[in-house]
Subunit: 301 residues, 2 copies
Amino acid sequence: MKKIVQCVPNISEGRNQDVVNAVVDSIRGIADVKVLDWSSDTDHNRSVITFVGTPEGVEGAALALCSKAAQLIDMTVHSGEHPRMGATDVVPFIPIQGVTMEETIQLANRVGKRIGQELGIPVYLYENAATTPANQNLAAVRRGQYEGLPAKMAKANGKPDYGPTVFNAKSGATAVGARMPLIAFNVNLGTDNLDIANKIARNVRHASGGLKAVKAMGVNLEARGIVQVSMNMVNYKETPLYRVVELIRAEARRYGVSIIGSEIIGLVPLEAMVQSLDYYLGLEGFALNQVLETRLWSHEE
Amino acid sequence: MKKIVQCVPNISEGRNQDVVNAVVDSIRGIADVKVLDWSSDTDHNRSVITFVGTPEGVEGAALALCSKAAQLIDMTVHSGEHPRMGATDVVPFIPIQGVTMEETIQLANRVGKRIGQELGIPVYLYENAATTPANQNLAAVRRGQYEGLPAKMAKANGKPDYGPTVFNAKSGATAVGARMPLIAFNVNLGTDNLDIANKIARNVRHASGGLKAVKAMGVNLEARGIVQVSMNMVNYKETPLYRVVELIRAEARRYGVSIIGSEIIGLVPLEAMVQSLDYYLGLEGFALNQVLETRLWSHEE
């Protein structure tokens, strides 16, 4: 089974579409890499690009993208509402298939090192790739933003993980990280009582005693006259979709409320789908590569 | 979402690996086509090749394969245990993704016509592509085999659908068809009583009053001390996996028996997996292309 990693770099340009297009173009046509999506926000003056591919392909593409952004974006004249540190602001790597978090962290390190050495841009590792507990939190890494970088870099605990230890005025700094894919997952309840949705959300989410990799809140769907438990599943390997559905079902029972549906917003890794079906069918020994379509992007014949 | 069709041609050569390799090689490197698997049986003197791709890609590949087989296989000297009519014996097309059965039947007709016209080989359409009820059954189409072709073709109801109406001694005839993918699916029961597995099999299979697209029998798994309902799901769009699991669960209940597991043997289309998870999670409006990996083999960016 082919190894697949996703990368979702954010660049500090959301207004000049010529620049954004040039940055996206820099990773098109790279072997074993596919651009899935990109979008720009003019208020934030920021663009988000999503691409996937093999670890090797994604490594080269991430570097090409940072190089092009460094060439075309000048942080000395950048303004926008979103907190940012650099021309390429964040580069998260996300394991999708056949890749462990450990390998993804190694990939973040290889890319971080090359951005530092080859592009001369200071790099801070964050989330699962962080080298200090404080840097696991991206907001903490980015505190003070671009403008605060000279002061941050002068401090003993503000040194970058890779690259120059002096301020790069044109490019700023880049946060390179590794994290699990997020799944936006909502479960609809057969009631219009928001209080019930909020109580269930509290009971299933990690913050208040629930499942480890679940963030949840109650939401009112006024147009449909129902409420939902709206969730971010932050690590589907640890906490699969089926587990939160069955727990919500159990929690809802005491209110005489049923689950009437659910929705996955945006993309979901195949493995997360198979994992939950596995539970419901009681599948024994099922391998992802038994899904016929996985053969379509595999190297082996 | 890219259109994907599977093709599983059977050729009448399973002993001379040079010939088999040459036939498989004839479809390697064709754009938008991927060879998934091939295997030979020396007793049957027959090889089965599995490839997938876009309808256009698969059309060209099927023709290239039949052409190479016609060149290298001489039916006048062929012997083997498996019933067969021609050098390329059967060419079934199977819709995998984004393709209707109607489109698959049209593909079978295009390929059948070209095998007839370009290669001078008589073609009989079978299964969903059949032009007469009798020819829906491949065994009926193949009755009399290669040796019986001259007599068959002399009869009014034995004329091929495409190609010459005279016997082609070297290549015989080819059956070209369209069918749904088969899913080999077994459900394991928490008992060693084969009688119970057989009773449940009878109740869930189409032949004796059960679900339309299910063939089923009871099987003893002696080594594990359990029995299973062993099934062929012949049309997962009509009868999804979850439906037969839930029906088996209900039938088993009267014997105080539980489902203790299940297994999918071999390949399964993504759609069949998503369809069943859809049921269990109550997914609303989920589209196949929300599975991230589908983007990897799509043309669009």
